[in-house]
């Protein structure tokens, strides 16, 4: 069964810490994405990557960075965690155009709490 695996289901971090969220996919997908999900706001795109070492900002990149050194792994980095970054973080992957029409495969999510 194809998978997108997020390394942690729950994380609790302190304000000011540097936080790493890891995502690995085994489908040889070109595209990978990081979203955050908040009640009433739906899913908002933070960053995405369409190839190794390539990245583009999404709608809400402030306070975040990403790294994609290998095709299967996409990391989200919170440089200095703040309480307003408490959220559910979802990783997703997809094939590139045109097979990206088949949509995304999502991980199970990481619920991050910053205290």
């Amino acid at each position: 069964d194809v998978k997108v695996t997020q390394s942690s289901r729950y994380l609790v971090k302190r304000t000011g810490e540097k936080v790493f969220l890891e995502c690995v996919q085994d489908m040889d997908h070109e595209n990978m994405f990081w979203y955050r999900q908040d009640p009433g706001l739906g899913l908002r795109l933070i960053y995405f990557s369409y190839d190794v070492k390539m990245k583009e900002k999404g709608d809400i990149p402030e306070g975040y960075s990403v790294s994609r050194e290998k095709k299967e792994r996409f990391s989200l980095i919170l440089e200095s965690a703040s309480t307003n970054q408490t959220s559910m973080y979802l990783c997703a992957s997809s094939f590139g155009w045109p097979t990206s029409n088949y949509g995304y495969t999502f991980g199970s999510g990481t619920r991050l709490t910053v205290v």
């Binding site: 739906g42 949509g103 999510g109």
Partner: protein, 115 residues
């Protein structure tokens, strides 16, 4: 800019009754439309998609959706709801731009099916 709207935060329906979860989109080209479902503390699961062709699309778990270009809508439907259908449903839209694919998600609609 592309956008998608889910006008209802919550839909309540009795088991055995038909259900509809609404989605409308704003587009300047040909939309690719998706529905995803999210169960508690899980990532999103793909339900169905419209790319081209027949306006009535059938998907997983007995769900279907109707693409209506004139009304720019893509409502999710099921003839007979089950309690196990209770979940959060997201509509998403992608445009055939040829660039790295990105989905824009609605804010989600919580479906509550009761006995």
């Amino acid at each position: 800019a592309q956008s998608v709207a889910q006008p209802e935060d919550q839909v309540n329906v009795a088991e055995g009754n038909p259900l509809t979860v609404k989605c409308t989109y704003s587009v300047s080209g040909n939309p690719y439309l998706f529905w995803y479902v999210q169960y508690p503390n899980r990532g999103l699961q793909f339900l169905l998609k419209y790319i081209t062709g027949d306006n009535l699309v059938k998907g997983s778990y007995g769900f279907e959706a109707e693409f209506n270009k004139s009304q720019t809508s893509f409502h999710l439907k099921k003839p007979s709801a089950l309690v196990s259908d209770s979940a959060l449903y997201f509509c998403a839209v992608r445009f055939s731009t040829g660039t790295a694919s990105k989905l824009t998600f609605g804010t989600g609609t919580r479906l509550q099916v009761t006995l």
